[in-house]
Symmetry: C2
Subunit: 200 residues, 2 copies
């Protein structure tokens, strides 16, 4: 099978959070690496005409119920943060500061951020939170925080988001095995099976 | 567990078709009856602001791929009809002509219509097709067709659609176990588990 899968997600996507808890384990069972790829989901809404499900009439209540039920099913801690949705610029930039030089720490920080937002309901837009989570992982927060504000990192996130859109990514989570796309936390079992069987 | 589940669907919903192939078998394993409840999904689009996924930028190609892949996974014949989407007024009215007096034939006709549209790509808006499928099931097509055009049946479909919306139905398929809602063909495994366990 593919030696790597691409895992696109927005840090303020609750279904992305649920997928983040399972994706590495699924891939590892198939000797597969995961490329974590945060992007800004909001950039797709002007193309699809959609908005967050929690802001969509009729769908909002169901979505909250489905999220809680899906979380219980996978035994995941889950809560919605008070402020939702928000633009996850800082979280995403922090990731791209780290990913080239310290890829494992970048992913560890991504997981910690997701757990803070959707496991504990914390405000993921607070730079102080990101710094604290970084320090807990022995990442140099004093270097990380100013780097997040630099133009190359801002441009990197824009470029990654545009590249995701160019590839057809319109939701979170969105995963590719080679060219085969899978949209949604509810496609992880299909993804697992695809890695197992090579497709059907 | 509940002795009956409510299965809402639009006859021009391809995910509804895929669910229609499994829903009776899943329910039967749990000694559960299925109330088939066709409604006009289009009536929800003006509320949610959505449109068919196959008409939504970026989502269209993925949806066609996902439908074909999901169909292969459940070993279902699947194709998209040339004209899509369409308003499934005639199919739905035919169902409601039959459901009170001949409930088993109503469901048999619903299954036959779905298979004609999404298994064979036939045009489900053609009254002649509905009549032919009815005759194959030994339903009196000469009584069925004129009954479909009567005001009480037109009103019945409107009332069923409004009742679905009032209950929070915004997609197809949409299934209730008691008050617990499940949206999408990709929730059938959860539905199965809920019937098995009584919920989690």
């Amino acid at each position: 099978m593919s030696s790597a899968i691409d895992f696109y997600f927005d840090f303020y996507s609750p279904y992305g959070y649920l997928a983040s808890l399972r994706i590495d384990e699924i891939a590892a069972r198939h000797d597969c690496k995961v490329n974590w790829k945060p992007f800004m989901l909001g950039a797709t809404f002007s193309i699809t005409g959609h908005q967050p499900l929690t802001d969509t009439p009729m769908m909002a209540d169901y979505t909250l119920l489905d999220l809680a039920r899906s979380a219980r099913l996978q035994a995941a801690k889950f809560c919605m943060p008070d402020e939702f949705p928000q633009a996850a610029l800082s979280c995403s930039r922090a990731f791209y500061v780290l990913v080239d030089q310290q890829p494992e720490q970048a992913v560890a920080l991504a997981k910690a951020i997701y757990k803070a937002i959707f496991g504990e309901g914390k405000d993921g837009t607070r730079i102080e939170l990101i710094a604290e989570l970084a320090r807990n992982l022995e990442i140099d927060a004093e270097a990380l925080v100013p780097a997040m504000q630099t133009q190359p990192i801002k441009d990197r996130l824009k470029a990654e988001t545009q590249a995701a859109i160019n590839r057809g990514v319109f939701g979170s989570p969105f995963i590719f095995i080679g060219d085969e796309p899978f949209w949604g936390n509810d496609r992880l079992d299909q993804l697992d099976r695809w890695l197992e069987t090579g497709g059907w």
